[in-house]
């Protein structure tokens, strides 16, 4: 812990204070100590700032230049007593935000994130000038969640930008953004966002409680927060939704959920989350309801395929050939002939190689990544079949499964289902269809007992809340969705009259 036993106050003696500060900060090359005389007086002053973090132009052009010549130009100001800290503070006040600090602990962290400290001889108060230069990038469409229709804007790494994006999405005095600090060695700002007159106060309390409990050196990314506050870390299902889209966050807030923004990452978190949310995309709501509903149904189907595709194939081929239509059975029989492995090994070979391909394509620089994709497709699709290692039918099954898993709008749920798929395959290879059913039941039994911040993960399937089903498998017309989801226990349940 860095908290000091006793605070170090500044003495007012410039050289002494300077030495102490230098000792505290350490001899870092990027910390600048700029000594000068105020005006034409002999009052010494030092301005301390970190190169790169502080706005150097601002310091030079506005602070230093305005601090020195005008004072010397006006004979009135030659008087020493006028050059008090108060005077300078008032003088610079109009240019930038100024804060007075008296202790070392207040000063050092501020300087190290880009503020400039102005020490004046014979003054025990140091002025902190807000010269932080925002390191930011353009607001772009998030690559992880692209949408054909909808705002082409995503969060950035800058927390202020992100919160501003939320504010800008509409004038809303009830939108509350509460700041926390997480991390012990590297403290980061974290903002909990909710809408005060919608959200369940218990939920906010719970979120705050869990965030306060975070006691870790450094919260690298919101993934850390996610893993530290989720309900069941052993579960294969993600219990916190992450998103880069402000519109998605806003929609969640309007439903009565809570969002968590962390400095340094464009990924915001949304809690509580249910499984069905993982299969929803913002476009479901922006498109007309029939299109939205059909696409959503398609996604549920894709989720099913990505989970059970290969395992069903294995079960049918190895255990129940009688269940396949005759003509197909004959075809499969023909294509399987000469394949040296049992279907489970064949499926594992293909599934694992496609996972490796996916990972390789993701990690490599973009131009090479595409090449890898083509090479992989050729090797896996054509050569492996020619070589007689796998059957063409298996290539089809694996390809459909892979495509299905990419059709899911949330990357995290896609990964979960991909992992579970291997479990299903092993069960299928041991027990056939019975195994697949068994696996499904095991999964269901875990699924229904899982909770995310007090909300059952499977809701509104289980517990059964039919009124919430308007936005589950299909997305009913917005006209009919008059109430917020009941499972969130919102203060204001009416969404539309």
């Amino acid at each position: 812990m860095i908290v000091e036993q006793h605070s170090k106050f500044f003495t007012g003696e410039l050289s002494k204070d300077l030495k102490a500060i230098k000792q505290e900060i350490g001899y870092n090359f990027d910390v600048r100590f700029h000594e000068f005389n105020i005006g034409s007086t002999d009052t010494r002053a030092v301005i301390i700032f970190v190169e790169g973090l502080s706005d150097k132009e601002l310091i030079e052009k506005h602070i230093l230049k305005s601090l020195i010549p005008p004072i010397s130009a006006n004979p009135k100001h030659r008087k020493k007593d006028l050059l008090s800290v108060d005077y300078i503070k008032n003088y610079i006040h109009s240019l930038i935000e100024v804060k007075e600090v008296k202790t070392m602990e207040e000063l050092v962290p501020e300087v190290l994130i880009g503020s400039a400290a102005l020490l004046v001889d014979r003054a025990s108060t140091v002025l902190m000038l807000d010269t932080v230069k925002g390191k930011t990038r353009d607001l772009r469409e998030p690559p992880s969640e692209e949408a054909i229709r909808g705002p082409r804007i995503g969060f950035t790494e800058n927390l202020n930008d992100n919160s501003a994006l939320l504010r800008q999405s509409g004038k809303n005095e009830k939108l509350s953004l509460v700041k926390h600090e997480v991390g012990v060695r590297s403290r980061k700002n974290l903002v909990v966002a909710y809408i005060t007159d919608i959200v369940d106060p218990e939920l906010v309390k719970e979120v705050n409680k869990r965030i306060k409990k975070i006691d870790i050196d450094n919260v690298m990314e919101s993934g850390f927060v996610e893993q530290l506050i989720e309900d069941n870390y052993l579960s294969p299902f993600p219990q916190v939704q992450n998103t880069e889209r402000p519109d998605r966050v806003m929609a969640a807030l309007m439903e009565g959920r809570v969002a968590i923004l962390l400095a340094g990452t464009p990924f915001a978190l949304i809690v509580p989350v249910t499984f069905s949310m993982m299969l929803q995309a913002p476009e479901d709501y922006y498109d007309r309801w029939i299109a939205g509903s059909l696409i959503r149904l398609l996604r549920f189907f894709a989720a099913f395929i990505s989970l059970f595709g290969p395992s069903l194939y294995i079960a049918f081929i190895s255990f129940h050939p009688g269940l396949i239509p005759t003509e197909l059975a004959i075809t499969v029989l023909g294509t399987r002939a000469g394949v040296p492995f049992p279907s489970i090994i064949e499926a594992l070979i293909m599934e694992i190689s496609i996972e490796i391909l996916r990972e390789a394509g993701l990690r490599l620089p973009k131009p090479i990544g595409q090449t890898i994709g083509i090479v992989g497709a050729l090797i896996v699709g054509e050569a492996a079949v020619r070589a007689g290692i796998v059957s063409p039918m298996m290539v089809i099954v694996v390809a459909i499964t892979a495509i299905s898993s990419f059709a899911l709008p949330q990357y995290s749920i896609g990964i979960s289902l991909r992992i579970l798929r291997f479990g299903a395959m092993i069960f299928a290879s041991m027990l056939g269809l019975f195994g697949v059913v068994l696996f499904f039941l095991l999964l269901c039994s875990h699924f229904v007992q899982l909770k995310s911040f007090g909300v059952p993960y499977a809701s509104p399937f289980v517990p059964y809340r039919f009124s919430d089903w308007k936005d589950l498998l299909v997305r009913m017309p917005i006209k009919t969705m008059k109430r917020r989801p009941r499972m969130l226990h919102t203060k204001d349940s009416i969404r539309k009259k």
Binding site: L234, I317, S318, F319, P321, G322, L323, T326, E327, A329, I330, T331, V332, L333, G334, T335, R336, A337, G338, V339, P342, S343, S429, M430, L431, G432, F434, L438
Partner: protein, 382 residues
């Protein structure tokens, strides 16, 4: 708590492994999918009542073969012995494939076997064996059944073709009986009534649906054959024509008018007068002129229509009466279902005649009234 959780689950999963492991795992390429079965009677030397079982297996390289058009996409495996079950298992001695019976589409029974053996005996194995679907079709082969499973065109699997032909044609052509599945047949067998099965013949490796076999209710043996035209008559009496045509020759021309059946209704009315039983059958049908190859007729006059209707009625009556006569006198088997209408309308009388119904039936007078309505001329018209 977590640890106990995990151990609980692992015990659960492990016990599953020991309870039922991969015992029923059979990779599809190790199996021989049986697509059709043919059974024949065999006489080898002194031994009689030997049967030959021919299984038609899908070949594992069938898809390749089909593409190249070279080697055949199936293989027939024959075995001779006393029991079907034994033959099935004995076939393993020569073949690597484990036969899988789920996909059997047709069971073809040879004429000789059907004549000499009770059908129930023949089919006993198929009805007992759980792997065989009751939906597979039963056909009778004129001559040898195993010939039916041969073909001159190697890209076609005869069993599949046969199954498809049987199910599809009867909807469009009344010269074929509705398909009889194992399930349906087992019902017929239990009821002791006479019944019909579709015949197939094989000429030069080409399979044709041709006529029907009449089975006697009591013995369940093949008693005689009906021709295609007679099958047509049967279908008219039973009223299960879903399509089909009747050719008529008006005014002694050599070119026919073709009546296309659109709908038909048959009503069988039994009459009992003392000990005399008689039947009255009303056949009503609507249809259109499908083709008119006669030239001297005025195409759209009412007179023509009436004459055509008359002629069709006469023709249908002829078809119906000829088959009725044949089954009554020659074969003495009620394959029409007259028994059912008598049973329903006169249960007491039925009880008396039930025992010897086929005998009684052969002497019963039956009157046929045919009413044909021509609804339209097709797309030609006024």
């Amino acid at each position: 708590m977590r640890l106990s959780h995990i151990s609980k689950w692992s015990v659960f999963v492990l016990s599953l492994l020991f309870l039922t492991s991969c015992w029923s795992m059979k990779e599809i390429e190790d199996l021989g999918l049986v697509l059709g079965v043919a059974i024949d009677l065999e006489e080898e030397g002194l031994e009689e009542n030997l049967i030959t079982l021919t299984n038609q297996l899908a070949k594992s390289n069938s898809s390749e073969a089909g593409k190249e058009g070279g080697a055949s996409s199936f293989k027939n495996v024959s075995e001779t012995g006393h029991s079907l079950m034994g033959l099935t298992l004995d076939s393993l001695l020569k073949n690597k494939e484990i036969p899988l019976a789920h996909h059997i589409k047709v069971i073809v029974i040879g004429e000789d076997l059907a004549r000499t053996t009770n059908l129930q005996q023949i089919l006993d194995y198929f009805l007992r064996e759980h792997e065989i679907r009751p939906s597979c079709l039963i056909l009778i082969a004129k001559n040898r059944a195993s010939q039916i499973l041969e073909t001159s065109d190697p890209s076609v699997v005869p069993s599949l073709k046969l199954a498809q032909m049987t199910t599809n044609t009867h909807k469009r052509n009344s010269k074929v009986l509705p398909p009889v599945s194992l399930l349906k047949l087992s019902r017929e067998i239990q009821s002791e009534s006479s019944f019909l099965l579709q015949n197939v013949i094989s000429t030069n490796g080409e399979v044709t649906l041709e006529g029907a076999s009449v089975f006697e209710g009591k013995t369940k043996k093949l008693k005689g054959f009906l021709t295609k035209e007679e099958v047509m008559g049967i279908n008219w009496i039973k009223g299960n024509v879903k399509g089909g045509y009747v050719e008529i020759f008006v005014e002694k021309q050599s070119n026919p008018i073709v009546f296309e059946v659109l709908s038909m209704k048959t009503h069988i009315q039994p009459h009992v007068n003392g000990n005399n039983i008689s039947f009255e059958v009303d056949i009503e049908s609507e249809g259109r002129i499908g083709e008119d190859r006669g030239i001297s007729m005025k195409p759209f006059s009412d007179d023509t229509l009436a004459r055509a209707e008359k002629a069709i009625e006469k023709e249908v009556k002829r078809l119906v009466e000829s088959v009725s006569e044949k089954t009554q006198e020659e074969l003495q088997a009620d394959v029409f279902g007259y028994r059912d209408s008598l049973r329903i309308h006169y249960p007491k009388v039925w009880k008396k005649v039930k025992k010897d119904w086929d005998q009684t039936f052969s002497e019963v007078p039956i009157e046929y009234n045919v009413k044909i309505t021509i609804k339209d001329f097709g797309t030609i018209g006024k």
